[in-house]
């Protein structure tokens, strides 16, 4: 199994623990992730201002992977959806493809058929498979109560994702977390957006959306949140303190990436998984399950 690793903007700058833990887990499971230094923004944050430029950015990244004969694996859900959308769109729109290629030709690239784009979590679920993942576990996370946050763009728009999971009743993350022995906690508004895309527009509304979910998760008695998108992590982990201050609330809910959780069950120590880089402290909640400083 071999993929070009698409990191996007947020992960290398703000979520290095996600990249670190994903690389460790990938290595353990025999997924080869190839570094392509020339990748640029996926185009997602540019869609609001100009769909055409966003498509050119996405197509540029895909064409780079295509040139190397590699499919793309992204860790960020927004990157995954923006890139998948480009592939989906250009497969049906020759005129758009010609326009994109006109722009790409100046950079010496050509978008031909595009490549397969996959979220890392989808690769784990569909291509590695639960049985294989379980084989690499060395300890159980029994006793941990995990609330899964699927976010939006891992699943939607569903028309581009071949229904690999169900938008209105998603299960892929629940199944993978349950493998570790942890208890998956259901909660109200599980499918709701993190509010992240509104940070640049109206911080108050953005934080209010995130707060609702933190309330629901606390209510359900979870010890920690599990997620798969750096944008969502910014909302629940980096901004948790700000939400607590703005709304006079207390959560103290560690926010983990799926790769950190699976990595714990694989026996990696805290530093290997970057658990020391999460904003909300993870040490107490994970004391029973982790090793190292």
């Amino acid at each position: 199994m071999k993929y070009a690793l698409f990191l996007g903007c947020t992960i290398p700058a703000r979520s290095r623990q996600y990249e670190l833990s994903a690389r460790k887990v990938a290595q353990k499971l025999g997924i080869e992730l190839v570094n392509v230094g020339e990748f640029v923004c996926c185009g997602f944050p540019g869609k609001a201002s100009d769909m055409k430029s966003a498509m050119i950015l996405g197509a540029y990244n895909i064409a780079l992977a295509e040139k190397q004969g590699l499919d793309l694996c992204a860790l960020c859900s927004s990157c995954t959806s923006a890139l998948t959308e480009v592939v989906h769109h250009l497969a049906h729109d020759d005129q758009a493809k010609a326009e994109v290629n006109e722009a790409l030709s100046k950079a010496g690239l050509r978008y031909d058929k595009g490549v397969r784009v996959r979220h890392f979590a989808r690769v784990l679920y569909e291509e590695v498979g639960k049985e294989e993942i379980r084989k690499h576990f060395t300890k159980t996370l029994e006793g941990l109560r995990i609330a899964n946050h699927y976010g939006c763009h891992y699943l939607k728009p569903s028309e581009i994702y071949e229904n690999f999971d169900q938008v209105e009743d998603p299960h892929t993350l629940d199944e993978m977390v349950a493998l570790t022995g942890a208890t998956v906690v259901d909660y109200a508004n599980k499918k709701r957006c993190c509010g992240g895309p509104l940070l640049a527009v109206d911080e108050k509304t953005s934080l209010a959306i995130a707060k609702e979910k933190l309330d629901d998760i606390r209510e359900a008695g979870a010890n920690a949140i599990n997620l798969i998108c750096p944008f969502c992590s910014v909302m629940y982990d980096s901004n948790q303190k700000g939400i607590e201050t703005a709304f006079s609330a207390t959560y103290n809910l560690p926010v983990l990436y799926l790769t950190q959780l699976l990595g714990l069950a694989m026996g990696f120590d805290r530093k290997d998984l970057g658990l020391n880089m999460n904003v909300v402290k993870t040490k107490d909640a994970l004391a029973k399950y982790s090793c190292g400083e």
Binding site: C9, R14, G37, E38, C41, S53, L104, G195, L198, T205
Partner: protein, 157 residues
């Protein structure tokens, strides 16, 4: 909200929208409000309602829609689009409105800043030597600190 003056409506606005990606199926909306009921933004801020924006657009209230701050409140979560019983691509429609608004010169500063960052440096967060130092410390590979290709892809910016 103030009274709406329909004498100032632009009858061609809906045709303009129907002809663009995201606007094609707009006239199929039968006002069930499933979009607004599904919207995570409407749930915490009643100033935003996808249903109302669709109605305003169909009435031809071009100026009111494109100059409004509320079109920017769509978080692009696709909850409405997934559930619309009439198959209206509501999220794509909101993106279309945002594109039209910014072309007409109306956009929040944060959105303009994002656009300029992407087209200027190819990333929302540029990588500098300090970032690479931090990356190398935990054995992550260095990333390029400059991005020349955006100047080639977007020479007009």
């Amino acid at each position: 909200m103030a009274d709406i003056d329909l004498t100032k409506a632009d009858a061609n606005f809906r045709k303009e929208l129907f002809a663009q990606p995201g606007g094609e199926k707009l006239s199929a909306c039968f006002t069930c409000k499933t979009c607004t009921a599904s919207c995570p933004v409407s749930a915490v801020n009643t100033r935003f309602s996808p249903f109302r924006i669709i109605r305003m657009a169909l009435f031809g209230l071009k100026k009111e829609v494109l100059e409004s701050d509320f079109v920017w409140f769509c978080s692009s979560c696709y909850a409405c689009q997934e559930r619309c019983p009439q198959g209206v691509s509501i999220t794509d429609f909101m993106t279309l409105l945002k594109n039209m608004a910014i072309k007409a010169g109306h956009a929040p500063a944060g959105i303009k800043a994002q656009r300029d960052l992407i087209k200027g440096q190819g990333r929302i967060y540029a990588i500098d030597e300090f970032d690479n130092k931090k990356r190398n410390k935990i054995e992550l590979p260095s990333l390029p600190t400059t991005c020349e290709v955006v100047k080639i892809l977007f020479p007009e910016s």
